[in-house]
Structures are given as structure tokens and as C-alpha cells.
Amino acid sequence: MKKVTEGLKAVAESVALCRPDVISAYPITPQTHIVEELAQIVADGKLKCEFINVESEFSAASTVLGASAAGARAYTATSSQGLLLMMEVLYNMAGMRLPVVITDANRAVSAPINIWSDWQDAITVRDAGLIMMYAEDNQDCCDMHYQAFKIAEDPEVQLPVMVNMDGFILTHAFDPIDFPSQADIDKYLPKFKPLDFLSANNPRSFGLMGGPDRYLETRYAMAETFKSITPVILKAADDFKKMFGRYSGGMIEEYRMEDAETVLVSMGSTISDLKEAVDTMREKGKKIGVLKIRILRPYPAAEIKQALSRCKRVICVEKAISLGGPGILAAELKSAIYSNANKPEVSNFIIGLGGRDVKQDHIFELVEKAEKGVCETEFIGLDMKLVEEMDK
């Protein structure tokens, strides 16, 4: 039964269905409606849950860390500056193997301050040890949340999961959303059974020092865990499909790639723009497809290597930048396909930073440019008059 719902409110309803024990968050645009809606759900007695308003994102992350360590299913949501402020806690949470679920409403990072969408915020935590999922649309985003708790809490995983949704583009869009029933979600996602937690009945110590004699092995264990997560992610989607009839899963998604010579690679809601453009270009006879990176961590290197083993040209379309560095998606992708025999050209473009509209023409333009020669970290959609003005 579908219900037209705003993206953030849909996420809030989905999270509520997962029956978190503790929610803690701090207001930041464009994430705010999630916690507002959850606050109202709790205030109306519809969800029995400790909803904790805290004084900063740093404390929001720390509060859910503490709650998770004490055995609770814990959730927080944030965006942009808030995520950066959480940074130290996020590394710590991952290192402590705490299965918190975090929604990030992807937004640009200051300076200059900008509340609109790009991926710069979440990209900054890609090394931290979080599982990172990127939603293409709001149904996908809701379904990711049910699965996120299941994956995070899997005994083989025990890691935080971050669900990413593009600010405004998804967060504030109204779409018909199919919500599962509470009974079904209760079956899909039983009560959290932590392997180990803070308890006076079993007094144990958490967060010990790891000296030079142990630290390397601890990090190795995490790296090994990441190698075994893909099957867990795939199974969560398969189980979801069995119960709810729709497949919302996969590490990557291939769109019209069967005979594609050129493949556009991207994440999140940008995929919809690319698919539309690909449909248009296909009509004109161009052999072009789209590869969606749905899960950024663990990075689906093998899947990407395979998917790009036949094409001639790859174009990464990125909404984040490593200033002074190579394209972020492009570098990881080139790393994955480095030894492919077909060795496609790889271009990458920076688009849509800080909420700049991504137009279909921009996509046509970047394909055209890449066809003329490899482009690296090239900006598309610039207002050149403004660039000149700023140069003065």
C-alpha cells in the first residue's frame, strides 16, 4: 500500500518500523525532518524509544555509540558539517564494532557555507570503517534502512552502516512509498541481540588500548571483515525480496550496459539523471549505459571490474572533489579495472557541487567531451562569467 510521502518523513517512518531503542540527533538542514518526525512519533506514543536531544552532532554520535555499547539498537541522522563534527566518533564507533545506523542527507561542506546537495560530506568518512550505501530514490532509501540494521547487526559484521540520500533532491521530494507492515518488519528484523554489551551482570571492559603489539592485528581483523560483508548485503536484499516482493539490493546496478561502448558511472540520485540522458542518447543510436555504485564500502571492486570488462570508455560523474587530488570515484574505479584487458579510457567530471542543477545538457556535454579525449577532474556546468569575475 503506497503512500505519497516526503523523503525525510519516509525515512523517519521506516526507521520507526525498525524499532530503535535509542535515537539521538541534532538539527541540521536538510536532515532535520527525519528527527522531527521521529520526535513526533515518539511524542505521540507510537514508538517506545528514548529520543535524546543533544547539544551537538559530536554528542549525538557519542550518545548512540554509548547506547549501542550498552546493547540498544541505536540510530542517528545528520548532514554535512554535522557529519564532519562527528568524524572522530565515527572512526571510533567503527573501530569498536558498534552496529549503529546513520542516515546522511548529503550536503556540501563549508567554506563557503552551502546547505544544498553534493557528496562531499559522506566522502570524508570513506576510510573510517563504515558500510556506506547510496540511495537512488526514496523507495530504495527506505528499503536500505530496513536492510541497514540487519546488515549492521549481523554477527559477522557488527559495524556501523551509513545510508546516504542526496539533500533536497531526495530528502524533500514527495514520492509514493510502499511501507511494509510493522508485523512483517518485526519478522524481517528481530530484536537486536548484541554479541556482547555493557552489563553489570557480566562486567567487561570495552575500548581498551591497542599497543604496537596488537593494533595491526585489530585493523587486519576489520579489513578481513570487510571482505566478507558483500554476501551479507546480498542476502539481506534477497531475504527482503522474499518477504516484500521487491528487490532493493545489489552492490552495483547495470543499466543498458549489455552492448555499451561508453559507461557512465555514478551514485545516488544522479543515477536517475544519467539514466534519462542515456535513454535519450540510446534513441540517437549511441551505445551507452550506466553503472550505479550502490554500495561504496565495501567497495565492489570485483563487480565493477567485471561490469566494465567490455566497454571502451568510462565516465565517472562525481559530486565531490579531493582538492589537489585525483577524482575520488575515478581513482578507485581505475584501481579496480587497472588490469582489465579492454582497458577503457576513464574520464571524470565534477558536477552539481553545492546544489548546482544537473541538466540533461550537462550530461550530453560531458559525454561529448570524453569522446574527444580523456578528461580529468573537469568541472561541468560552470558559469564562466562568474568564474572570470571571481578571478579578479
Binding site: 543533544v54 551537538s56 581498551l208
Partner: protein, 300 residues
């Protein structure tokens, strides 16, 4: 998660690696003796975390967690919320603790937030008056004119220029139902205050002065006498505020501050010349003003 079961049933084992004469190790043991085993402890980064939990060993016989240097308060909030949410409210009470740096400086924003939320957490600041774990740098609780490596006595400086941040007063201003100070030379007073704090619901604050022979520069055998002199000189008055009102203060016969300052190398630059003597007068004034302020009836 890195976890470890304590090897025996003591709440705080002697199997730690604290320095000789460490006031802090003593305080930790006294606190847990007073609380008993039904507590969960959240520990900020610092000496106490370092000398008790070098993986895979732990000195703790109670459930214990360390996360970061500055988030102990918010982690405690989360633990406390989880216990309530999971219907485990009777299982344990939550204690957060950290040193003076973690409490008065880097973690203070989080503590203030926790106090404002009015969470049922006992916060204990073990105050050794500097960042001892990183090698004796100045904190907000470093005493006036104390030498530390970042408030050094030098040719144009006479040590720390600021008075000790008054966290107990700030805690009272936050509306806390229980605020107290203690020190290791008075273990019964300390124990009583911990027990009293555990009877109260809501946020509570206890600041325990713990001499650090290494950082203060006194003999390791002088830990207790330094702790006592801090009280007797009036530089570290012992008191309790209940519901915002001064409820008890320990009465002692006042001693001159020199008796406390002289045995500690962190004050030795004050004993060199007339400029130092002037500073000692100012320190005596601080002590006198504390004596005037906390002249209330003795502990019953």
C-alpha cells in the same frame, strides 16, 4: 568490540600500571568501594584509562567503557538511555569520569550538555591539575602560578596566569542537585560523598583532588600529605552543595600556603625572589577567600 573479562571479582584490581604514589589510582578504588558493583563506568581518555587497560589486560571488575577524550558525558547519556529503553534501569547506575583536562576543558561542552539534559549520571572529575597523561601541560584546573610545560615559568613568565576554573560553581549554576569536592587524604569523607551522590537522581558532580607526584614534583610518599595540605591551606576546600545550597564544608585549622607550595617543584620558581614572594601573597589571598566562603558547620 574489544572486550575483556576481569580475571577476578575485585571492582578495581591492583593489576594496573600506575606510577608510585598515584592519587588517582587510590581515588578510583575508593569510589568503587563506595558504589559497589552495580555501576557502569564511562572513562575519558587519560591516565586512568591508560594504566588500567592495556589490551588484553583490564584492571576493572565493573562494566567499563572508554571511547574518546571528550565524549565521556555523551557516551554516558547513551548508556543510561539504553538501560532505560531496554528495561534494565535497575541493573546499574551510570558513572562518567575523566581527568581535569577531559572535564574542565575538552569535554566540558559535552558535560554541560549532559547536565542541561538532566541525565541520571554521576560525573566524577579526578583533578590532578594538569594534563599528566601527555606530560604535564596546563589545563583549566591548573592552579594559579603553577608551572607546567605549556604555562612554563620563564624569563618573562611566572607560570600559569589564570585561576583554577571553578567547575563546582559552574555545576551549581547548571542547577545540579548534588555537587561536591573531595580528596584522597580524607577517604571517609570521599566515601560518604560518593554514597550521598548515588542516593540522588539526576546529574551529579564530584571533583576529587588527586596528587600526582610526577606532575606536581613532590615525593611519591607525600601524596596523602599534599592532598591534606591542599585542604588545610584552603586551596582545595571540601564542600557539598545540595539543590544549589552549600550543605557542608569541612572545617580545618588554616595553614599558610607555603607549607603546601614549597614541597612541590611546580611552585619552586615562586621561592626564588621577591617577584615570586608577591605571587605567593596572591595565592594566600585565594586561600583566605576560600576560607571566608566555606566557613559553615563541620560534617556531622
Amino acid at each position: 568490540m574489544t572486550t575483556q573479562t576481569a580475571e577476578n571479582v575485585k571492582l578495581f584490581n591492583s593489576g594496573h600500571t600506575a606510577c608510585a604514589g598515584c592519587g588517582l589510582a587510590l581515588a578510583a578504588r575508593l569510589v568503587l568501594q563506595a558504589t559497589g558493583p552495580k555501576v557502569i563506568v564511562v572513562n575519558a581518555t587519560g591516565c586512568l584509562e591508560v594504566f588500567t587497560t592495556r589490551s588484553p589486560q583490564t584492571a576493572w571488575g565493573i562494566p567499563w567503557i572508554h571511547s574518546l577524550f571528550e565524549n565521556q558525558a555523551a557516551v554516558a547519556t547513551g548508556v543510561e538511555a539504553a538501560l532505560r529503553a531496554l528495561g534494565r534501569g535497575d541493573e546499574a547506575r551510570v558513572i562518567a569520569w575523566g581527568g581535569d583536562g577531559a572535564s574542565a576543558d575538552i569535554g566540558f561542552g559535552g558535560i554541560s550538555g549532559m547536565w542541561e539534559r538532566y541525565d541520571d549520571v554521576l560525573y566524577i572529575c579526578y583533578d590532578n591539575e594538569a594534563y599528566m597523561n601527555t606530560g604535564i601541560q596546563r589545563s583549566g584546573l591548573t592552579p594559579f602560578k603553577g608551572h607546567t610545560s605549556t604555562s612554563p615559568a620563564g624569563k618573562v613568565s611566572l607560570g600559569n596566569m589564570k585561576q583554577k576554573k571553578n567547575i563546582p560553581a559552574i555545576a551549581v549554576a547548571h542547577g545540579l542537585p548534588y555537587v561536591a569536592t573531595a580528596t584522597v587524604a580524607y577517604p571517609k569523607d570521599l566515601e560518604r560523598k560518593v554514597k550521598k551522590a548515588m542516593e540522588v537522581r539526576g546529574p551529579r558532580y564530584l571533583q576529587i583532588l588527586v596528587p600526582c607526584p610526577l606532575g606536581w614534583g613532590h615525593a611519591t610518599s607525600d601524596t596523602i600529605s599534599m592532598s591534606k595540605l591542599a585542604v588545610e591551606t584552603g586551596l582545595n576546600p571540601l564542600f557539598e552543595y545540595i539543590d544549589g545550597k552549600l550543605a557542608t564544608a569541612m572545617t580545618v585549622k588554616q595553614k599558610p600556603v607555603e607549607e603546601y607550595l614549597k614541597p612541590q617543584s611546580r611552585f619552586k620558581h615562586l621561592f626564588r625572589d621577591a617577584a615570586g614572594a608577591e605571587q605567593i601573597k596572591l595565592i594566600q589571598e585565594i586561600a583566605n577567600s576560600n576560607f571566608a566562603k566555606f566557613k559553615v558547620e563541620a560534617v556531622k
